[in-house]
């Protein structure tokens, strides 16, 4: 994985010093809250429902064991012994003191971590495929390109006061595990005439106006990867709406301008930027790629796995993914125990994950946008030992991509923007479907819950989505069906009138009953929905 050199390290330390100075000026009264707010946000520090919240960046979701242990240390020393892994592949802490924040950033900097641009109207942490470098189906590892964009976008002088936040995702396989087209810019690395380049999409997003990003350019040569991004960002910075924060994302600009006109503007800006020396030297990409070379995989390992322990076999079938290297597998640790809080992990659990990564996965783990943790490179012969350690820690839920593998935003329990709680709904649904056989019978079913229309819980992209709303001071939940954040991307549609907290759990059960009754061979919930249509489900829900 990427390793800082002295330059990267100095940049992070400088940022810590700068933020320490800004915090001191705020506490001394030299900055008003209005002036301080964008500065703290650019360091990931929010004022949330209960306290300050700190969001720490995990670039493209990749962590080593030392970093994971540092996350545990932060939880223990400065917070209440836990953290929350987010749909941006980051982690956030809920109980941070402003006066501790500079020290936390200093601690993070010692392990090449930071909270830079994890909030604010700037280019946010760049996300990627959680199986990058391990998946059998990838063209190349997308992370070197994400790293190049990370460097370019860090402290970007022109794009730090954009109309609104800006999110990139970079993938390099046809299977989309990163909801790429639901990003402000989505990039798929592709091959054309033997050369690697970037297919650019722009103007996707969730939030209150969900949109699937249209194709902007089919192939941008790698040599122009950065300048093409610069062109898009400049068009957005100049023309994106600033009169209404709910219409300020690039998706609205692309939509209102029309994709064709938008592309024209971007191409004109891109043409202008030629010769401005925007792109990195080719040697830089090669340098970065050097950090993402395959670890020293053993050869000649057996692909045989002893499946005699039935509980292990269940976990194996559900939470283990095909690896490109014979004898190896990708193992996913579910952060969705029945009745637990989706994405939360205690410091002890983080340390266990760090230990497992160090011992079994070439010192590497990944955060997924569905709030789980991946051990990307494990020997198949070690899977049983890993599973046993997870079982001991009650951390071996075999529910990846099943109905209880719920994405949920923090909701009204933690978030000052929320209208309704998300976590209790996730817990009740997980309880209702707690029998693993029942979940497996329902197959792949992506259930995603947001506590407000900002859609941090990706409800638009759920096979089943749930949106919490405030109805005259009480929590109410709308049900959505038919979304997908994968390569078959689609936006979910609302079924009809909302439900109360128990009603929504019943409603979820009813739609799964319809699926079971209607499905044809091999169909997932989503496939059946797409084939039979909304009416059949509405009928069951509303009679």
């Amino acid at each position: 994985m990427y390793k800082y050199d002295n330059y990267d390290q100095e940049m992070v330390y400088t940022r810590v010093a700068e933020f320490r100075d800004q915090v001191e000026r705020r506490i001394a009264g030299k900055l008003t809250e209005d002036q301080f707010k964008p500065l703290r946000l650019m360091n990931g520090l929010y004022l949330q429902l209960h306290a300050y919240m700190l969001r720490v960046a995990v670039p493209y979701g990749t962590l080593n064991s030392e970093q994971m242990r540092m996350l545990a240390h932060i939880a223990r020393k400065y917070d209440r012994d836990y953290g929350h892994f987010t749909t941006r592949q980051n982690i956030q802490y809920n109980w941070i003191k402003l006066e501790d924040a500079p020290d936390i950033l200093a601690d993070l900097a010692t392990v090449e971590m930071h909270a830079i641009q994890t909030s604010g109207n700037c280019i946010r942490n760049i996300s990627s495929d959680q199986y990058a470098g391990a998946a059998a189906d990838e063209l190349v590892d997308p992370r070197p390109y994400a790293e190049l964009l990370r460097q370019w976008s860090s402290f970007h002088p022109e794009f730090s006061f954009l109309p609104r936040k800006f999110k990139f995702a970079v993938i390099a396989s046809d299977e989309d595990r990163a909801a790429m087209r639901l990003h402000d810019i989505g990039i798929q690395m592709v091959e054309q005439d033997g050369a690697i380049g970037a297919r650019y999409y722009a103007g996707g997003g969730m939030g209150r106006t969900p949109m699937i990003g249209p194709l902007i350019r089919d192939f941008v040569p790698v040599a122009d990867l950065v300048s093409y991004a610069e062109a898009i960002l400049r068009v957005y910075n100049r023309y994106g709406r600033r009169d209404n924060k709910y219409k300020a994302r690039i998706k609205i600009l692309v939509h209102e301008m029309g994709a064709e006109k938008f592309i024209e503007e971007v191409e004109a800006e891109f043409a202008h930027l030629q010769g401005q020396n925007i792109d990195a030297p080719a040697a830089e990409l090669e340098r970065i790629k050097g950090y993402f070379e395959d670890p020293a995989f053993e050869t000649g390992l057996s692909d045989e796995i002893d499946r005699s322990d039935p509980d292990f076999a269940v976990w194996l079938d559900q939470n283990v993914h095909t690896h490109k290297q014979p004898g190896y597998a990708i193992a996913v640790i579910s952060l969705k125990p029945t009745g637990g809080i989706p994405g939360d992990a205690s410091s002890a659990q983080m340390e266990l994950m760090a230990d497992l990564a160090e011992r079994y996965s070439f010192d590497e783990c990944r955060v997924t946008h569905s709030q789980n943790i991946v051990l990307p490179h494990v020997r198949k012969q070690d899977l049983h030992a890993i599973w046993q350690k997870l079982v001991e820690a009650e951390f071996a839920s075999p529910n990846l991509d099943l109905i209880s593998d719920i994405i949920a935003c923090p909701g009204l329990d933690y978030c000052s923007l929320a209208n309704a709680r998300s976590i209790p709904v996730a817990q009740k649904i997980a309880q209702r479907f707690k029998e693993i056989d029942r979940q497996k019978e329902l197959g792949e079913l992506k259930l995603k819950i947001s506590g407000c229309i900002n859609a941090c819980g990706h409800h638009h992209a759920g096979h089943i989505g749930i949106l919490g709303v405030d109805r005259k001071g009480t929590e109410n939940y709308q049900l959505l069906l038919g979304g997908s954040g994968a390569e078959d991307v689609s936006l979910a549609k609302i079924t009809g009138p909302g439900f109360d907290e128990d009603g929504i759990v019943d409603a979820v059960e009813k739609v799964t009953d319809v699926y079971v009754a209607e499905r044809e061979d091999g169909e997932r919930f989503l496939d059946t929905y797409r084939r039979v249509g909304m009416d059949r489900f509405k009928e069951a829900l509303y009679g």
Binding site: I27, A51, P424
Partner: protein, 98 residues
């Protein structure tokens, strides 16, 4: 009735106006009236709190609590972590919300 709340500037703690100071416990909150704007301006100016505003509240068996669910959760802590309840200290006190 209305009570006054804010977040402690340095710690971020949710705090409630007691008539002369700030408390972490909503049960210490006192009703405030129209003249509260002076208190708000003064407390922000002296950087005791990063922001502050009034919320509708009522007297309950558990003492003073905000009426709206968001402020209620803000006052008492996340409903899904009863171990982190701020106040009232009774661990069952969050049951109203479930």
């Amino acid at each position: 009735m209305k009570i006054l709340t804010g977040n402690d500037l340095k710690t971020g703690d949710v705090v409630w106006w007691t008539g002369y100071d700030w408390s972490r416990h909503v049960s210490d909150a006192v009703p405030v009236y129209d003249n509260v704007t002076d208190v708000i301006a003064r407390e922000i100016a002296k950087r005791a709190v990063s922001d502050c505003y009034t919320v509708e509240a009522e007297k309950t068996d558990d003492g003073v609590l905000p009426i709206h669910i968001k402020e209620k959760i803000r006052a008492t802590g996340p409903t899904v972590r009863p171990d982190l309840k701020i106040s009232p200290p009774d661990p069952a006190a969050g049951n109203w919300v479930i």
